[in-house]
């Protein structure tokens, strides 16, 4: 760890600092994300609300406008159509009156004298005058009917004067003369002063159509042959007894209807008159679909590519239409139409949608302005808030860094102190102790307390270990002493009876533990009797050793009283059983050799069979009579037996440590191997025999632990002759 400005880089202080910094940054990140999200969300909500309001306004105003238009425009159109139609229906009535008069005139031809007529006189211009024109090559004086029809002069003049719509009215005879009333007498006078010929009467459209229809007709719109003004003619044929005699008619200049159409049009809308052929007759438009087109090339709107318009025009020619929205010349327009029944025309009323949309657009524009202002205010506020947040964030980060450093230092300080204290500890008498600096009320205090407790416990433990070790050493010393005492109890000086040549005896004991339960003993009861004992106490260690000591002493005491072997064992058993709560027992073989004769009297209390070697044979087990181990039951009687040892006989006594010595495979040494080992010695000295058997056992068990004591005794009886077999 490097130390920079009192901060350990990579230390706890820095780690805590890092952690706090990460947490703070994460918090700021989350806060920022939430802020941005909220802001975006708010903005989109505002935007959405704006959009929806706009759409709602548009819809509502469109619906309202449609409703208003529907009711007012349709009604107005119908009214206007009616008014326009009226212009013509009067003319029709006038012409019908003329037709009826003429028919009467011809029916009662004989009742009327020819009436005078006059050619146009330029001086009469400006005054309504009845005038006569004729085709080229026609002599008016020769006309059959001209004089007759001239009787209509007064009624025609009167009719003309009473109607402000008529341009003229007239009656034409079948032989090419025409009598008419108007106030433009001068236009018929040519430059040379002569009167112009009338165009061929029966070729005129009104004549032809009236004759063809046989009834009242209206011609299409035509340019007047003299004035060049747009007009149309209403005409009707006159018959006498089914024969065509004349055609009457009236001429209407369409200036009136044109003026009407023009006067009813404004920038908000206009009227449009369409004739039965779908041709636009009148409209204020100077271009586009509704531009008036008075020629044979005029477009038939019923066949227009704009099918909506075509259908609408067809409908309008038949009946009053509902309000329709149709695209005209690239602009959406509201249209209503109503038929002009007299002429079979229709009058359309057109209002551009733009116009109706103007209030909506104005409202929306105003609304957008308000929105824009509000948004600007909102954004300004948001910007201000952002700045505030940034400044606050910076302050918070700064404060957090400072407090993180302070906190980290506070946390680390006691730990550093603790480390110094622990490093300073040396020796077992020093201990870590609580100090005020560790009282932090957190894990550090707990850690310090744990350290203190551990330190105290360790000190206690060390002193305890020291005590236990001392105790163990004392016990060890005492055990070693006990082992020596036990070993000292057994006769251990060989040759044991250097002055006795009749026998030689050797014994050894290797305890499995420090002290064992096996023992051997031999002593002279008197000069002729040698007592030999080999025994094995149940169990091991100190308890077995104590029991063994008692057994050995009791056996020896009894033997020294001169008792027989069986009696010795019985009395020993009684003595031991009287104080044997631990229920220990001891296997014992006890024999008394009469040295002079070689007679061996022995008794066996549960001990291994002795091995006997006769002078000329090998070692064999002597299966003697067995009694129960000593200490098992009180009152046991033992049986003794006798055998005679020839000089040169060897007696080998042992404990189960010999036969039950175990190798690493868990196999026992056994009596067979023991006998083999004994017999391999030939006729060796007892000490050599025992040493050899011990060696063989040790090599047999190898590295295996020795479980039992290894105790052996070997007697060689030489007889009176002494060492005759000695090596």
């Amino acid at each position: 760890m490097k130390i920079i400005r009192g901060i350990k880089i990579g230390g706890l202080q820095q780690k805590i600092f890092n952690l706090m910094l990460i947490i703070i940054l994460a918090l700021i990140g989350v806060y920022g994300a939430v802020s941005i999200y909220q802001r975006n969300n708010l903005t989109s909500v505002v935007q959405d609300a704006n959009d929806r309001q706009q759409i709602a306004i548009e819809e509502v105003s469109e619906e309202t406008m449609m409703a208003v238009l529907e009711s007012s425009m349709a009604r107005t159109t119908a009214l206007q159509a009616y008014i326009a139609n009226d212009l013509f229906s009067d003319v029709g009535t006038d012409v019908k009156t003329l037709q009826a008069f003429a028919t009467e005139l011809f029916a009662h031809e004989s009742d009327f004298a020819p009436h005078p007529y006059y050619e146009p006189d330029a001086s009469k211009a400006g005054t309504p005058t009845v005038q006569m024109q004729h085709e080229e090559g026609v002599d008016p004086a020769a006309s059959r009917d001209l004089g007759l029809v001239a009787n209509m002069s007064e009624i025609m003049l009167s009719m003309y004067q009473n109607s402000d719509k008529l341009n003229s009215c007239f009656v034409a005879t079948t032989d090419g003369c025409i009598l008419f009333v108007d106030d433009r007498s001068d236009v018929y006078i040519l430059e040379d002063g002569s009167v112009a010929y009338a165009p061929t009467v029966h070729e005129r459209p009104w004549y032809r159509q009236a004759v063809e229809a046989g009834d009242l007709i209206f011609t299409g719109v035509e340019t007047d042959s003299f004035s060049g003004i747009l007009g149309l003619v209403c005409a009707a044929p006159v018959y006498r007894d089914g024969e065509l005699v004349a055609v009457v008619g009236a001429d209407v200049f369409l200036t009136a209807i044109d003026e009407y159409v023009q006067s009813r049009s404004s920038e908000n809308g206009y009227l449009c008159v369409i004739n039965g052929d779908g041709e636009v007759l009148f409209s204020p438009r100077e271009s586009g679909v509704f531009k008036p087109a008075l020629s044979s090339k005029a477009a038939d709107l019923r066949e227009s590519d704009n099918t909506e318009l075509a259908d609408f025009v067809k409908l309008a020619l038949r009946e009053r239409t509902p309000l329709s929205l149709i695209e005209i010349d690239g602009k959406y327009c509201y249209l209503t139409g109503a038929p002009m029944e007299t002429l079979g025309w229709t009058l359309l009323s057109v209002v551009e949608k733009e116009v109706t949309d103007q209030p909506t657009a104005a409202m929306l524009s105003r609304y957008a302005d308000i929105n824009k202002d509000a948004t600007a205010l909102y954004q300004k506020g948001a910007k201000h808030a952002e700045t505030t947040v940034l400044v606050l964030t910076a302050v918070v980060v700064l404060l957090a860094i400072m407090s993180a450093l302070a906190l980290a230092k506070k946390v680390v300080k006691p730990l550093e102190h603790m480390t110094r204290r622990i490093n300073a500890l040396s020796g077992s008498d020093q201990a870590f102790e609580m100090e005020e600096v560790y009282r932090t009320d957190d894990e550090i205090e707990i850690l310090a307390e744990s350290f203190a407790s551990l330190s105290r416990k360790t000190r206690d433990y060390i002193s305890q270990i020291t005590r236990i070790t001392a105790e163990k050493e004392r016990i060890g010393t005492e055990l070693a002493l006990a082992t020596r005492i036990q070993a000292d109890m057994l006769p251990g000086i060989f040759p044991a009876f250097p002055d006795r040549k009749e026998f030689d005896i050797y014994a050894s004991m290797d305890p499995a533990k420090e002290v064992g339960g096996d023992f051997y003993d031999f002593f002279l009861i008197d000069q002729d009797h040698l007592c030999m004992v080999i025994a094995d106490v149940s169990g091991k260690g100190i308890p077995a050793a104590l029991f063994m000591m008692a057994s050995k002493i009791i056996l020896a005491n009894n033997a020294m009283l001169g008792k027989s072997p069986a009696r010795i064992l019985s009395d020993t058993n009684a003595a031991i059983c009287s104080n044997n709560r631990e229920e220990m027992f001891v296997t014992t073989w006890l024999g008394i050799l009469e040295i002079s004769t070689g007679k061996l009297t022995a008794a066996n209390a549960g001990h291994e069979y002795p091995a006997l070697q006769r002078p000329d044979g090998s070692f064999e087990l002597f299966r003697d009579k067995h009694g129960l181990v000593i200490g098992a039951f009180d009152g046991v009687r033992y049986k003794e037996y006798e055998m005679h040892l020839e000089p040169g006989s060897r007696l080998f006594l042992y404990t189960d440590g010999v036969t039950e010595a175990m190798n690493t495979e868990g196999d026992l040494f056994g009596t067979d191997r023991m006998l083999d080992a004994l017999n391999r010695q030939g006729r060796a000295h007892p000490e050599q025999i025992l040493r050899q058997v011990t060696e063989e056992i040790n090599s047999y068990i190898g590295g295996a632990e020795q479980f039992d004591d290894l105790t052996m005794l070997c007697l060689e009886y030489k007889g009176k002759g002494g060492n005759e077999h000695d090596d």
Binding site: G517, D536, V537, S538, G539, K540, E583, M584, F585, T587, A605, G606, H607, E608, Y609, H626, G627, L628, V629, A632, F633, D656, E660, G666, L668, F707, D708
Partner: protein, 99 residues
């Protein structure tokens, strides 16, 4: 190593011993027997799987025999030749019931 398999039914108890009954393991058997023999009238010790018996083991058998003589009976079953020889040598055949 000694494994003891114990079955106690009412007044009858059976102990199956496996392994070695020696200085180390005898206290285990002694404890098991002392703990289980209250109210037992008939005790059977199965020696079929017992490999080795030391004098410490004999001591446990002896004290158990004494106890069972007072409160019922005890017998040993499936005793193998090796162990039987130990019983014969030590004279335990005189005090134990061996079948």
């Amino acid at each position: 190593m000694l494994n003891i398999k114990k079955t106690v039914e009412n007044e009858k108890a059976c102990f199956q011993l496996e392994g070695r009954l020696d200085t180390i393991t005898s206290p285990e058997l002694e404890k098991e027997l002392v703990d289980s023999l209250d109210n037992v009238k008939e005790l059977v010790l199965d020696f079929e799987a017992l490999d080795y018996l030391s004098s410490a083991g004999l001591r446990v058998l002896l004290s158990t025999q004494k106890r069972m003589s007072r409160q019922g009976s005890m017998k040993l079953v499936h005793v193998n030749d090796t162990i039987m020889e130990i019983f014969e040598v030590t004279g335990f055949t005189d005090i134990l019931t061996i079948e």
